[in-house]
Symmetry: C2
Subunit: 246 residues, 2 copies
């Protein structure tokens, strides 16, 4: 069933009016009619089945709570060195499907592309829409936030149970245990910094490690900058979500 998001808390029995973007997609694109149903996830990460009572404006009655535990057990923030436009879109869409909580794109010393801070808002607006679409499609309970950081090393200010910086040299040296250790040690949240295509500069790495970041390899193969966060999120899922039924 189609899922949308709503910016306030919901409860069974409420009647609410949806915004123009949802109205357009549900009524014009999917041709839903009065009596039709879809899923609506609210600002508290609860999801409900809703029934359409009116199509213009699009109005629904909130039915049963159908919330399922589809969010990663760890809230993962990824900080990504800026890559070219299409790659930022790919990372945003795929990381959302794979359960990310927060995506931060950051200018960095060796990056092959940069965002002018004055243009960041427009880029973020577009990426936030992509995140929303991907969250709807993958039936997430929350939409990840997409943010901009003027410098990759501003990540030194971030707080979390575990702070990691993905470092290719660690992978080359065969270091394979840090990621596993950090995922096991993190109780609530994890921040992982990924360099741009050009790599992380030694000064940047030094500043991050001085702030408590640990360098971690992501397996023995060298991953492209846009593939690394997708590996990380899948690995966190595999290590925390897959054994639950046993």
């Amino acid at each position: 069933m189609q899922r949308y998001f709503y910016k306030q808390p919901l409860a069974t029995g409420m009647t609410v009016e949806l915004d123009a973007a949802v109205q357009k997609h549900a009524v014009q694109v999917l041709r839903m009619q009065a009596g039709g149903q879809f899923e609506l996830a609210d600002s508290e990460a609860h999801a409900y089945v809703v029934s359409i009572t009116n199509v213009k404006p699009l109005t629904v009655t909130v039915g049963a709570d159908i919330t399922k535990p589809v969010e990663l057990p760890l809230a993962v923030t990824i900080v990504c060195g800026i890559a070219k436009a299409q790659k930022a879109e790919l990372v945003t869409q795929k990381a959302t499907e794979l359960g990310v909580s927060r995506i931060i794109f950051a200018n960095s010393q060796w990056g092959t592309a940069r965002w002018q801070p004055s243009k960041a808002d427009r880029k973020l607006e577009r990426l936030q829409l992509i995140a929303r679409g991907a969250a709807e499609q993958s039936h997430r309970n929350v939409v990840p936030t997409v943010e901009f950081m003027a410098n990759l090393t501003d990540a030194a200010q971030l707080q979390a149970d575990q702070l990691l910086v993905a470092y290719e040299e660690s992978a080359k040296e065969g270091e394979a245990a840090q990621l596993l250790q950090s995922v096991r040690a993190a109780r609530h949240d994890l921040v992982v910094v990924f360099g741009p295509e050009g790599g992380i500069a030694p000064e940047e790495l030094a500043q991050l490690t001085a702030a408590g970041y640990k360098a971690a390899g992501l397996g023995p193969r060298i991953l492209r900058t846009e593939t690394a966060p997708l590996y990380l999120l899948s690995a966190v899922s595999a290590l925390t979500e897959l054994g639950k039924d046993e």
Copy 2:
């Protein structure tokens, strides 16, 4: 260091001439000269440092064996329902980075796109080049093969220690342990079938399960058809490669 592939076995001390594609990239694109070095992986999954003795034709002397264990401990075959062109390219590139052994694209009942068998060879040729480029870039020791299957259910003929079919309904029902169990049980190889965007038809699923395939969820979120194999390969890596240093 740049890596290329060579179709015969190599050994330290040999002198070999490389094909036109490597010559073009190394000499024209990267402007390498006599005395320059690069890495060459051979048909036996061994990698060597080589030194250029002549640029036209591109001739090298084979130096030290620098083979590292960068291949996944399990040989993973992915069978993917055909998606639109760009998605097949994305899957080929990313799956290669993430360690796949063999990629098979297959027409299926509910697929939104199909390959005409007469045109499959040309498509495979292009995808095989993408796999080669990605294997060079990620410093793999082997280039995965890219193949075509006229019907997804022909996967019933494949042999491996463990046979899985990624099934969205399993994910929805909260089934999370089959993938973990199969990765643990597989000694050498694993085949995983992924439906197309339209999903796997019940008859297809029945034929595969009759042939020994087990339905497996890939975590609790619903993944797009091109994201699912990337999750699978990352999960196999996380479950088999990350704890090695401990």
